[in-house]
């Protein structure tokens, strides 16, 4: 019932704002005359990221080469086909901490979707999409974006069971004023067992408001997991909720993000921040490319945990330095300490990431 109400509210907002779109655009045009961009139109593009991470979890070292190509095929300026596939190798010592490295490469189709950029207020999406829950899954997960390579402890809340949904989705800007933007996403996912396209039956929404002058975003996600989950020998339909905040007092230089997640099987929070060290008065050319990152997080299981979440209380503190050789090449390093009731252990990450954008096809100006 809650889900239906949330979906109905989102649709109502779309309808109410639809008639205002024309006037918004006219107002924006009145602020300054638009000039035609010199971009070369809409050509197919392969983008994405690749990287290599040496990870130590406890005393177990793992080699993780990764590549996540994104295929973008536009049909004119209003329809876009997009797909991302993740290839991640997991290689560990044959005997845990000694012997040669052995392992395999895992392939995952993360999303395959068709987007119709119908208007500012309504962008229908169909296909397999990333579940828009909280900040991390849809926005911060790509290899070249993530400031720390370890995903948050409560990442599985709202991303069960594969991190993706299959079905329809609506998203867009519900309200746009000079002071704030209200953005929304609403979706319904079917249960799907097709290889590489598996998903669970879920419905949910994400709404966030961004205050332009303060550079603060407040958001909330809600998801009803409609496939029954077997928890403590009882079939349950689980509700997942998240609230999150982002703040960029100095864009691309100082950034703070925080999220609190809650589910039937656990709750947790994380707070992450980064600062570019551009204000260090010595070796400025070096330090302006250096990023200091930190994250604090905690997870507490409820009703025994499980469903992809830890079964015991966990706390983790992580910090690191990333160095941007260029805006697309980055060296990464981090150290963390994880605490739980069983044992405490260290987390290390060393490696690099590279973001690529390769246009395919010939330049062609679109009208």
């Amino acid at each position: 019932m809650k889900t239906k109400i949330v979906l109905a509210c989102c649709l109502l907002l779309c309808v109410l704002r639809a008639d205002a779109q024309g006037s918004d655009t006219a107002e924006a045009n009145a602020q300054g005359a638009d000039t035609e961009s010199t971009h070369a139109g809409y050509v197919p593009v392969v983008s994405g990221s690749m990287g290599y991470v040496y990870n130590v979890n406890g005393s177990i070292p793992t080699l993780e080469p990764q590549i996540n190509p994104v295929l973008l095929i536009p049909f004119g300026s209003h329809v876009l086909f997009e797909s991302r596939t993740d290839f991640t190798g997991i290689f560990e010592h044959r005997n845990g901490t000694s012997g040669d490295y052995t392992g395999k490469v895992y392939k995952t189709v993360e999303f395959v979707q068709l987007d119709w950029l119908a208007s500012t207020h309504v962008v229908p999406v169909a296909g397999r999409y990333l579940l828009p829950f909280g900040l991390y899954a849809e926005r911060l997960d790509p290899l070249w974006i993530a400031n720390l390579q370890d995903i948050p402890l409560d990442f599985s809340i709202g991303t069960q069971t594969t991190g993706a949904g299959v079905g329809p989705q609506l998203r867009g800007v519900a309200v746009e004023t000079p002071d704030l933007n209200l953005q929304y996403t609403a979706y319904y996912s079917v249960h799907n067992n097709v290889t590489q396209l598996q998903s669970s039956r879920t419905a949910g929404s994400d709404v966030s408001v961004y205050f332009n002058s303060a550079r603060v975003e407040l958001g909330t996600s809600y998801q009803r997991f409609l496939d029954s989950s077997r928890i403590n020998n009882v079939n349950r339909q689980v509700d997942n909720e998240a609230v999150y905040l982002t703040w960029q007092p100095i864009p691309s230089t100082l950034d703070v993000k925080a999220e609190f997640d809650h589910s039937y099987t656990g709750r947790g929070y994380w707070i992450e921040g980064y600062s570019m060290l551009s204000s260090v008065p010595v070796a400025t050319n070096f330090f302006r490319r250096m990023q200091l990152v930190g994250r604090d997080e905690q997870f507490v299981p409820l009703h025994g945990g499980g469903n992809g979440l830890p079964g015991i209380e966990e706390k983790r503190v992580e910090g690191g330095f990333n160095y941007y050789i260029r805006d697309d090449w980055r060296l990464i390093s981090s150290y963390g300490r994880q605490f739980n009731s069983g044992r405490n252990f260290n987390l290390w990450n060393l490696g690099f990431t590279y973001r690529f954008v390769w246009p395919l096809g010939r330049e062609k100006k679109s009208q």
Binding site: T25, N29, Q31, G32, D34, S37, H39, A40, G41, Y42, V43, P44, V45, S47, V70, P74, S77, E82, D115, L117, S119, T120, V123, W144, I145, G172, V173, E176, Y184, Y210, S213, A214, R215, V216, L245, W247, Q248, P249, I250, P251, S252, D255, V256, A258, Q298, V300, E313, E314, K315, Y324, R326, D327, D328, N340, S341, N344, R355, V357, W358, P359
Partner: protein
């Protein structure tokens, strides 16, 4: 090791959340418009594009300034969906990244 997460921790989270809001509301951000005696000029499309980048793209990632011009239109279509940009923001951002 016991790691309690009870009502007091939730209250602390709520207090931190409120603190962020209060700071954000009272401290002017770098680049935010200051009181000015001169009459305001409407922002150019390039300035609007930069503002779109700072207010949307920079929430998640740093500026990718090495996008080939041929790919910019398609990449920004992708980002319009991902970042839930308006059509006007898409145009301004396109002009900013591929003037």
């Amino acid at each position: 090791m016991s790691i309690p997460m009870n009502k007091s921790l939730l209250a602390l989270c709520a207090a931190l959340f409120s603190l962020f809001l209060w700071i954000a509301a009272t401290v002017p951000s770098v680049g935010a418009q200051q009181p000015d005696q001169k009459p305001k000029q409407p922002p150019t499309q390039d300035q609007r594009g930069e503002r779109v980048f700072d207010n949307n793209c920079a929430r998640c990632h740093r500026p990718p300034m090495t996008i080939p011009p041929q790919a910019t239109g398609t990449v920004i279509m992708h980002m319009r969906v991902r970042a839930r940009l308006s059509s006007q923001e898409e145009k301004d951002l396109l002009y900013y990244l591929a003037p």
